[in-house]
Symmetry: C2
Subunit: 311 residues, 2 copies
């Protein structure tokens, strides 16, 4: 948390959510992929954010991001519209959800512009936005970052596949949901889908499986990161983005993206995601300490520990 830490730049949505779960509801819940990513990554490295909000965006959101040391020079406040708003309702099991309403607001005309001091960031994460904009951000970098991560969604596979495949070809790590990996490749087997995606360019691939954890495909190896079984999941919104924040934030400390370091990053990502879903918005993720993070990391170690026997 000192100024000498390397920086990770994230470009993505900053939003206000209306989250309805079977047991509770929050109408003005601060959200957005770049928000969750930034809070999570801030525990590991300096974070620079590029996004857009309207003047209706809660001041608390800006205060929270600043308190975590996130550089907001790239966050545009557009007085001509409202902040991106998403309203959704989770199913009884807290996994599936239905989108009830989406108001793009100022996000519709979002045209990311990188402040000069952002353009040499060593680490870049392109959160889920239209692939053409992700390409535009890449073009604004003065030097090729050491590591570029990318997230996307089914919508872009449906309506902007060519651009999406183009940007996938330019990144080092793609994070994508299991179903989307299958949709993107027209494969029904995950291992085959992973091969096809890595054939498009990325050296590393993270397949997100929600409550079942995530898989990493890197070199000839597969790593399976479990999710921590939790008794009280309050709000899963932003779990994938918090995962990406912990994952990229850890790598942005300057460790080499070797298979073993990517595995460690997967678990730090899972740790941050596990904290995030225990509260609305980023409530339970904004006041962590190195100690609490390491303590949950140890829980993941114990969760997966086993030994071999001589037969």
């Amino acid at each position: 948390m000192s100024d000498t830490k390397p920086s990770v730049l994230v470009v993505g949505s900053v939003a206000v959510d209306w989250v309805i779960t079977p047991r509770a509801e929050r109408e003005e819940s601060i959200g957005g992929a770049a928000t969750f990513f930034s809070i999570a990554a801030s525990y590991f490295s300096n974070v620079r954010l590029v996004g857009v909000v309207g003047e209706d965006f809660p001041k608390q959101g800006l205060d929270d991001l600043r308190a975590r040391g996130v550089d907001l020079d790239g966050l545009e406040v557009n007085p001509e519209g409202k902040t991106f708003r998403w309203k959704g309702k989770y199913h009884e099991n807290m996994n599936g959800r239905d989108t009830l309403d989406t108001q793009l607001g100022v996000f519709e005309a979002f045209d990311p512009k990188l402040p000069a001091h952002y353009q040499d960031s060593d680490y870049l994460f392109l959160a889920n936005i239209v692939p053409a904009l992700q390409l535009k951000v890449l073009e604004q970098m003065k030097t090729r970052p050491k590591l570029v991560g990318l997230d996307s969604m089914n919508l872009w596979i449906d309506i902007a596949r060519d651009d999406l495949v183009k940007v996938i070809g330019k990144v080092d790590v793609l994070t994508i949901n299991e179903e989307e990996a299958m949709q993107l490749t027209s494969e029904h087997n995950l291992v085959k889908a992973a091969k096809a995606i890595r054939g498009m360019g990325p050296r590393s691939l993270v397949i997100k499986r929600g409550e079942y954890g995530a898989l990493l495909f890197h070199d000839d190896e597969i790593f399976s990161a479990p999710a921590l079984p939790l008794e009280d999941v309050v709000d899963p919104t932003g779990a994938g983005d918090s995962f990406a924040g912990g994952f990229m934030g850890y790598l942005a400390r300057g460790v080499e993206p070797t298979g073993q370091n990517l595995r460690t990053a997967m678990i730090y990502g899972s740790v941050l995601a596990s904290y995030n879903v225990e509260g609305f918005s980023y409530d339970t993720m904004k006041n962590l300490s190195v100690g609490t993070i390491q303590s949950r990391f140890d829980q993941f170690s114990r969760l997966t520990d086993f030994s071999k026997a001589a037969l």
Copy 2:
């Protein structure tokens, strides 16, 4: 594989399946929970089987079980009917499936009778049959086995809940699918469902999650066993029973059912299940060696290996 190994007794179905997958089909596929369990467990301990077939049951099935050293003194051949037959079709992703036909045949009047030399087995697995029969088997044991495992299904939760809860109260380990655990307890959270089930009696609980692996709840700990991501899943039929066979078979070597040993057993179960789904019936599981089993165990170790960093 010597005669001095302890014995595990399994009671369950022996069947002929008609398996249809998106890429292949087998009309006379030897199956049944007790069959898969026995082949898998035979790599770790002596196995005694109780079940019933008709005269139509393929001789190859009996030969294969005998070749694996399975004691078939408890397998009744009932000339008055046909072997239990199940016909099913797997979905494109090889996970979901539809049952097209079920012919109970001689299984409908199945009334398990334990040969005298079975009645002092130290390990017992009650595979998925009507709970009243599982209770009857327990009553036939001369001494309480060191460890009793139980499997069940949604059908019995629907139509024989009282008997099911009664038998659950008498066993040490319950293996059950995720959805069934929720259905049994009317909980929507897996951790809460696990607490409720352990409140019914079993010290240990294994929640099966198909392609996502399995969770073990024991003492105050949770262990997450991944499934091995496989590129060619040929036939998932019997995966859960093969898992149970590897799991119980390993424990039936006489190791104490401590948390750590149960974890090891979970992985041996997962190893056997992973081999089983790579072929129809038990084709790819019937000719393993200790070396191939240990080599795939090592794959599971590598699949889950990660290290912590100093933050």
